[in-house]
């Protein structure tokens, strides 16, 4: 294992300390229990947006804390859900009197921990609603499994709902918007390499030089099928076709196209992928009216990418365009 760290057990705490030192005007970092909170929290009269999940997906979620996006983010150990005490403390820290929305990615651990936190918060008199994001088309949506994973649509939901909360929308409206974003967003990812969890010390799986994994998650968990390596244009097809078919997206739909890097893939390759994905979207008659290209929900140093399509409505466009000022996403502010 070759990593720029001091010790595996210190990675999360030291990275949080680094974020606090780098962005004092935007965020504060609390310890025991650990969470990242926007510098001016709680904002009176505003719905408090709280998310969280395992570390290793940076900049998500801590990098999205700030004006126009999340009020707080709870980091777990690498690829491990945070715990209810963190979520409860974060909820209290951002409660401006208008209620709290938990944005949860659909993983067994995250869902259970946020559920327990919501029960604890309700017992303390807080008003909490939760939305679970489950946008990964690579997973069979079945009653007999844990269901689809929450992946890159989470970033879009956090931005759009953050804009709505900042504009003073009430909890019910922000939660409804979040559900609409989830219902209209679909993603699929792939990997060229695995990643190494610091405390595990070796890659979670291995891919030969001439192989790639299609339908990868964001935790180094293997995907659904391993296939021979193909050129970027062919990969774009393999990711876009199931995404478009799934909703299904149709001619005339206004969409946001999000090409996301998994952590180890350079921007130049993401643009190569974006070029083809955009072309495929247009071939299907989709109108790509917004986009995002970059590494926003990652899997440590994994090389690979995911593609997300979100069918937009007027509210989503308005709040996507709204100003945002966070460590990792900022415009208009």
């Amino acid at each position: 294992m070759k990593k720029l760290i001091n010790a595996p057990e210190a990675v999360v705490a030291e990275a949080l300390a680094g974020m606090a030192a780098a962005h004092p005007g935007l965020i504060r970092v609390q310890t025991d229990p650990a969470f990242v909170v926007r510098a001016d929290a709680p904002v009176r009269g505003k719905v408090g947006l709280v998310s969280g999940g395992g570390s290793g997906h940076e900049p998500m979620h801590g990098g999205f804390v700030g004006r126009g996006m999340l009020d707080a983010a709870c980091p777990g150990a690498v690829f491990t859900s945070p715990t209810p005490d963190q979520m409860l403390a974060a909820a209290k820290a951002v409660d401006g009197g208008a209620g709290i929305l938990f944005i949860v990615k659909n993983y067994t651990g995250d869902v259970m921990n946020f559920e327990m936190a919501a029960e604890l918060a309700a017992a303390e008199g807080l008003t909490v609603d939760s939305v679970v994001i489950d946008d990964d088309v690579a997973v069979k949506d079945s009653l007999y499994t844990a269901g689809r994973r929450g992946v890159a649509t989470t970033v879009l939901a956090e931005k759009i709902c953050g804009g709505a909360a900042e504009a003073g929308q009430p909890l019910a409206a922000v939660a409804d918007l979040c559900r609409r974003v989830n219902a209209n967003g679909r993603s699929m990812g792939m990997a060229l390499t695995a990643c190494t969890v610091p405390h595990a010390g070796k890659p979670s799986f291995t891919l030969a030089d001439d192989e790639m994994e299609i339908g990868i998650g964001i935790h180094g968990e293997p995907g659904r099928r391993r296939v021979p390596l193909e050129p970027a244009d062919r990969v774009a097809e393999m990711l876009m076709e199931p995404v478009i078919e799934d909703l299904p997206f149709g001619a005339g739909d206004e969409v946001l196209l999000f090409v996301n890097g998994m952590g180890g893939t350079p921007l130049i390759e993401l643009y190569v992928l974006y070029r083809k994905a955009h072309e495929i979207a247009e071939r299907h008659g989709l109108k790509v009216v917004r986009n995002l290209v970059g590494s926003y929900i990652t899997s440590l140093e994994m090389a690979g990418a995911s593609i997300t399509l979100l069918r937009l409505d007027a509210d989503m466009i308005r709040y996507w365009d709204a100003p945002v000022l966070t460590p990792a996403l900022r415009w208009g502010a």
């Binding site: 690498v78 690829f79 651990g109 327990m116 007999y144 405390h199 979670s204 659904r224």
Partner: protein, 210 residues
């Protein structure tokens, strides 16, 4: 040899469990790497070492208080799915232990049964889903059946049933948790959660055996 476990014996069990999980950390993580996300070993070791430290710092008054402390500590230190699930097991067990200064085999069977019911309710897993339920379910049944036997024998039977249940997860296709994303590819691997459940029950049986 003893017929019931008091706070000191239960503390000895959890100390032993912490040591076992520390020792087996790499193996559990390896099992999890195959079908999950490589964090089960380190999460369990972290949680149970926190439990051991907590119990050493402030010894609880009775088994119910001990189980409650264990449950709350696991919930706030383990993370992942294992934290809420094992935490719930101990919190439910605390309910059944209330008012009892020591726990004999029938009482332990009651505690474990309630703990399993709590896990099933929180995690919604059924037998055969390739989860910790596949080790705990047979253990509860075995402990129930052996509750008339001397405690060490009853707990040894429970641990043996858990071990068999754990081994039986190997051919199963996962239907809950992160392994379920693999579909058919999850078959052929032993479930890490069933494995940690067996290790906890084995530590309990070894503690009772003295």
């Amino acid at each position: 040899m003893t017929d019931s476990l008091d706070v000191a014996a239960l503390t000895a069990w959890l100390d032993r469990a912490a040591a076992v999980l520390e020792r087996e950390k790499a193996r559990l993580t390896e099992l999890d790497a195959a079908i999950g996300d490589s964090d089960h070993g380190v999460n369990m070791a972290r949680g149970f070492s926190a439990v051991a430290a907590k119990l050493a710092g402030a010894p609880p008054a009775d088994p119910a208080a001990l189980f409650k402390t264990v449950g709350m500590t696991l919930i706030s230190t383990v993370g992942g799915a294992a934290g809420p699930l094992y935490g719930t097991l101990f919190l439910q067990a605390a309910g059944k232990a209330t008012g009892k200064p020591t726990l004999d085999a029938p009482a332990l069977a009651e505690c474990l049964k309630a703990g399993l019911a709590g896990i099933v309710q929180r995690g919604k897993a059924e037998p055969g889903d390739k989860t910790m339920v596949d080790a705990l379910g047979p253990a509860v049944a075995a402990l129930d059946a052996a509750a008339g036997a001397p405690l060490p024998q009853a707990l040894a039977a429970a641990a043996a049933a858990a071990e068999a249940g754990m081994a039986a997860t190997i051919p199963l296709v996962a239907r809950k948790g992160r392994a379920s994303y693999l579909g058919e590819r999850s078959a052929g691997h032993q479930d890490p959660g069933a494995t940690s459940s067996f290790l906890l029950l084995k530590a309990l049986a070894d503690t009772a055996a003295g």
